[in-house]
């Protein structure tokens, strides 16, 4: 693990984004702050719809037409990319920051050969001077992600799910980016393939010394491959810290609930805390702490006031009643199966 205090490759400051819809403004990202050093791996976790993909899209400034950046800065190598022109930002995309898409099935254009789609990225940035060198580079990338280079001249529909996922990873690596965002890189795959690809991706990331952001709703998966973890809820980063620390002792009840809703190694479902109900509607989020309607520890102050930030070492959370160092393990002991 690299806990370097060097200049961060990526720094996100007070980021807020909303989507304008017919039903109102969807406050998809609110006051998100974090930074990422070279070679570091960050996990962004949270339930579906809590704004993880929206944050990722801000980092590349790939926003749908109805999205509106309310505030914030995204520094890539010290340059705020949000005010850049469309031409300027193209230089940043894929060369500095690349993405492994959430749906690898659909991220490949069905009418072009897979290799060609990787070559296209290399050509767009003039990374290699000739086509044959570009193709050689793609062959190397294919080997790196465990694909036979002969597959370059096949079409996406001839690939299995796992192969497509590998191809999309190869595509992300095409221009030696400094940061890679892997948005649910493996959810569509079966568990064994998922695990293998994740480990390989981790290996490649460490070898190439890239920074990486893993996005997932499965906190256990992310924990295996990251140095730091950020937990998102209702568009906000509610807890952030070194993965080991957060896992040992989460501060935020939501983090604990996320951890609890996954089976333990033994296979039995050890319920650390209940996570019932649905994430809130982001058009009209709850007052005070957005988690209060589902929180076992909620009190009146939670319902009325935005919670303060509490810190424990490198770890922090926004909560009125943060959990103690030994989290609510008791209910688990009682409530087997």
């Amino acid at each position: 693990m690299t806990a370097s205090a060097a200049v961060p490759v990526l720094r996100v400051v007070d980021l807020s984004l909303r989507y304008l819809t017919r039903g109102g403004e969807v406050k998809a990202v609110q006051d998100v702050n974090f930074e990422l050093a070279q070679g570091e791996a960050l996990g962004l976790v949270g339930e579906s719809g809590c704004g993880k993909t929206s944050v990722a899209n801000c980092l590349m400034r790939l926003l749908p037409d109805n999205a509106q950046l309310v505030a914030g800065q995204v520094f890539l190598d010290g340059q705020d990319i949000l005010p850049l022109s469309e031409d300027q930002i193209r230089e940043y995309r894929w060369q500095r920051i690349a993405m492994v898409f959430q749906a690898a099935m659909n991220a490949l254009d069905p009418v072009y050969k897979v290799g060609q789609q990787v070559v296209e990225a290399i050509e767009a940035h003039g990374v290699e001077p000739t086509l044959s060198l570009a193709r050689e580079r793609v062959a190397g990338l294919f080997r790196m992600v465990g694909l036979d280079p002969a597959l370059m001249d096949r079409y996406p529909h001839e690939f299995s799910g796992g192969m497509r996922q590998r191809a999309v990873i190869a595509m992300a690596l095409a221009c030696d980016p400094r940061v890679i965002i892997a948005d649910e890189p493996t959810t569509a795959l079966d568990v064994i393939v998922q695990d293998r690809i994740l480990r390989e991706l981790k290996g490649i990331q460490q070898r190439l010394h890239m920074a990486i952001i893993y996005i997932s709703h499965d906190i256990a998966v992310v924990a295996e491959v990251t140095d730091r973890i950020g937990v998102m809820y209702a568009g906000r980063l509610v807890e952030y810290g070194p993965t080991a620390a957060v896992f040992r002792a989460p501060l935020h009840p939501y983090t604990a609930a996320l951890m609890g809703s996954f089976p333990s190694i033994a296979g039995e479902k050890r319920v650390l805390a209940n996570l019932s109900g649905e994430p809130p509607n982001l058009i009209d989020p709850p007052s005070g702490c957005p988690f209060h309607p589902r929180c076992l520890h909620a009190t009146d102050v939670c319902r009325q006031e935005i919670p303060p930030r509490v810190e424990r070492g490198d770890q922090w959370a926004d909560c009125w009643h943060p959990l103690e160092a030994a989290p609510a393990l008791e209910p688990a002991d009682n409530g087997g199966t």
Binding site: E86, R90, P110, E120, L131, S132, H157
Partner: protein, 383 residues
């Protein structure tokens, strides 16, 4: 693919047979026959009329006439036209079919390009002035009553502005001293156009094969130079003025046909494109840092093309009946006009010949579109 093509050929023969049979009995269902056009002629004695009937074989029972026509069609010899007597049907058709084919292939290709180009532009930049004007005028032209619109075009460009001839294939004044026939000149024009197309495709293909991105940029200028050279050769060959005269007569019908049919492609492309721009691979293309133009053309529009090509079959059929009307209004002596006249005068052999040709043409066009589709969408394979 070969198996598929063989099967398709079989289906085409069957379809042609059905078209043939249907057309034959439909014409027979009209009251009277070719000879009855002389029925009102008091100078013609009835026995001469009967003689005429007998010589055209119209006195034979229906099924026998049907079999004779069928045999003629299968052997590729459609017999002799009643109306153009004594010219064989084949002779009339060989003169007329290319005229229609040129008219309506040009219009189809033009309207497809214009429609596709506008469609992708208005889908890409929603809510602009372009979207507004293109959609309104396209939809208006698409739904307008074709003969009325054609007459309006003639009124504007021939009578008011005097830019273009009113109709017909050529201007007899220009051709008074011509030493060559119109068919010869037209044939040369077709040959030139054909060679140019082949050259353009070859040039593009070879430049692509070299694999150097920069080279394909030269395809446009190269083809333009070839076109200029071809036109120069054509005008130096001494028939330039005559070719120009035919060309002038082609402009108005082609423009009219194009204007009434581009909107279909445009609106379809727009809708299809509004779907593809939301696809992940378009977002991926943008994420890769491709210039917007490439994201639009290479990914969004390329995929939006697929359903549009499927619909090309229907627009071809639309163009066929459009061409009958257009040829009528512009007195363009093509297959459509020939068919119209032949049906009116019950010139049975010519009707059958024209029907078989039109049928064959649409079936071939259909087949070409289907084969093209395989080329455009790698997911499709015909077994």
């Amino acid at each position: 693919m070969t198996g598929y093509l063989v099967r398709r050929a079989g289906q085409m023969v069957l379809t042609l047979f059905l078209i043939f049979t249907f057309a034959f009995f439909l014409v027979q269902a009209q009251p009277g026959d070719y000879a009855s056009f002389y029925a009102l002629d008091p100078d013609m004695p009835p026995e001469v009329k009967d003689q005429l009937r007998a010589s055209f074989g119209l006195d034979k029972p229906l099924w026998e006439q049907y079999l004779i026509h069928l045999k003629n069609t299968v052997t590729g010899n459609f017999g002799v036209s009643f109306g153009h007597f004594p010219r064989p049907v084949m002779d009339v058709l060989i003169e007329r079919v290319p005229r229609t084919a040129v008219l309506f292939l040009t219009a189809t290709v033009l309207s497809f390009y214009i429609g596709f180009f506008l469609g992708k532009a208005i889908a890409w930049r929603r809510g602009g002035v372009l979207e507004y004007t293109a959609t309104i005028s396209g939809a208006t032209l698409f739904t307008v009553f074709t003969p009325a619109f054609a007459l309006m075009m003639i009124w504007i460009f021939s009578f008011r502005l005097g830019w273009l001839p009113v109709g017909k294939f050529l201007d007899p004044l220009v051709w008074r001293h011509a030493e060559v026939t119109a068919n010869h000149v037209f044939g040369q024009m077709l040959l030139t156009a054909f060679l140019l197309t082949v050259f353009a495709f070859l040039a593009l293909w070879i430049l692509r094969k070299t694999g150097r991105v920069g080279l394909t940029r030269w395809a446009g200028p190269l083809i333009a130079v070839a076109a200029v050279v071809a036109l120069l050769l054509l005008s130096l060959s001494g028939i330039g003025g005559l070719a120009l005269d035919i060309l002038k007569h082609m402009i108005l019908p082609i423009a009219t046909l194009t204007l009434i049919s581009f909107a279909g492609t445009m609106l379809l492309t727009r809708n299809s494109m509004l779907e593809t721009v939301r696809e992940d691979y378009v977002m991926a293309a943008r994420a890769k840092g491709l210039p917007e133009k490439l994201v639009r053309d290479r990914h969004a529009a390329r995929n939006a093309l697929l359903p549009v090509v499927t619909s090309l079959v229907y627009s071809l059929i639309f163009a066929i009946d459009g061409s009958v009307i257009i040829e009528g209004v512009f007195s363009w002596p093509g297959t459509g006009l020939t068919l119209l006249q032949a049906v009116r005068t019950e010139d049975l052999p010519l009707v059958m010949g024209a029907m078989v040709f039109i049928g064959l043409f649409s079936l071939l066009a259909h087949l070409i579109v289907d084969v093209l589709y395989v080329y455009l969408d790698p997911r499709i394979r015909y077994q």
